[in-house]
Amino acid sequence: MLENQPVGDTDALVLRYHAAPAEHHVARWRPSTTRTLRDYFSALVQTSWPRLHVPGWSRLVQSLAVRAMRRAIARTLGVLLRIAVAGTVAIVLGLGSAWYFIDVGSGLTVGASGPWRIWSAAGRPDADPYTRAHFARLGWLSLASTEVQTYAASIDSEGRKLYADCEYDVIGPIPDAQWWSLAVFNPRGELLDVPADRHVISRGTIVPDSGGRMVIRLASDARPGNWLPTLGGNAMVLVLRLQGSVIPGGGRGENTIPVLPVINQLSCR
């Protein structure tokens, strides 16, 4: 007959054995809501090796074995849990940071002027892997930044995301470049399918205002002057390309970015 009896400082139950030795082999594990590993081990010993089960001595052995087993299982589970946590952290950290540095860039790879951003090693054979990955992800075949400076803006001058159902003014000095253009795309680099089939304003088509500046209006409805049509309500990207531009400083980095136009949001639908 088995009797459950609570033991001191643990929540384990020790199986006390009062039955005659001849009955040992019939002892079986009985499901219980309070069963523990020690119970299980005890029942296992009683069932499998009844002769080993000497009251007192076997209890000590069982207790030590159970404790060792518990410790081993806990250690294994602990190691597995730590590997899982550390692995998850590593994957999230590794992939998340890779995505960020490829998509957004860092101060080492991207120069910024207001809302405009330029990947300074774009298209170059010695480009860093982040720049190569950025352009590979977008599928963007870009001329080297030493030939053409390509600035992209996905936010306005106040940091709000650009949307095609809003109206914007792009105002600034006309770029001092042999050739320049301002085009509007969706974030995948596709031209907006606008009915006017007009996607770009360039040095060849700009009409400067009376002060000699460029004022380009982005709107879904026709506007007088330099109108760049937009369509739908999705996000959009403005791309300003300067070819053969005169760059102050002549080197790389923040101080080489010329004065670029501001992007002002006028209204949104």
Binding site: R70, R71, A74, R75, L77, G78, L81, R82, V85, A86, V89, A90, I91, V92, L93, G94, L95, S97, A98, W99, F101, I102, G123, R124, P125, P129, Y130, R132, A133, F135, A136, L138, G139, W140, L141, S142, L143, A144, E147, Q178, W179, S181, A183, F185, R188, G189, E190, L191, D193, V194, D197, H199, V200, S202, G204, T205, V239, R241, Q243, G244
Partner: protein, 200 residues
């Protein structure tokens, strides 16, 4: 037992996670950079290898490459130099015309403009670096001296001529000059050699 399982992660594990994260970061960046589809694939699909193809004016319907801008017209030559060097000929019109050579990964290997050259036309010999090092180009010395030889580390890539869209008045002339451009294997033609005597 539960306490042992949920024992706080110690600094060694934290450090291990950081190192593993760094390795994953590096592998992901290099994989994104080097295992992606070659950037020149859309152009290779749109044009014949080792010949010049004038792309249609860029619109939403005809756009071939992402971020392809409508202010430029393109003549494209996807090349494969495994059969020998190519000769690319271009004539330039008004505005800044550019000749560009890319490798398949999208790295720009060479570019020149009409303003740099101070000429209305250019002849480029595209050859593999190994051929030019071994001085085994099938062209005369005179041709090599008078034309621009572009040494390319890889056999495959894309060359293009881009012309600015200056306005309606220039469209026909731009189109004509782009269609005149050529890109063909050197073959029997030896650029720069003295012209054959005209038959009487």
């Amino acid at each position: 037992m539960m306490q042992a399982v949920f024992k706080p992660i110690n600094w060694l594990w934290f450090l291990g996670a950081l190192v593993a994260g760094g390795i994953i970061h590096i592998l992901a960046v290099f994989a994104a950079a080097d295992l992606a589809t070659p950037l020149t694939t859309p152009l290779e699909n749109a044009a014949t290898v080792n010949s010049m193809t004038v792309l249609p004016a860029v619109s939403a319907a005809t756009q071939i490459m992402p971020f392809q801008s409508g202010d430029l017209r393109y003549a494209v030559c996807p090349f494969d130099l495994s059969g020998g060097p190519l000769i690319l000929k271009a004539s330039f019109g008004e505005g800044p015309w550019t000749v560009v050579v890319f490798d398949r990964s999208g790295a720009m290997l060479y570019s020149t403009t009409n303003t740099e050259l101070q000429r209305r036309d250019a002849t480029l010999i595209l050859a593999r670096t190994s051929e030019t090092r071994a001085a085994s180009l099938p062209i005369s010395r005179q041709a090599a001296a008078t034309n621009i030889t572009v040494n390319l580390p890889q056999a495959r890539g894309v060359a293009w001529i881009q012309a600015p869209v200056l306005g309606v008045g220039y469209e026909a002339e731009t189109e004509r000059l782009l269609e005149q451009a050529s890109c063909e294997p050197v073959g029997g033609f030896i650029a720069g050699d003295a012209p054959a005597p005209t038959p009487p």
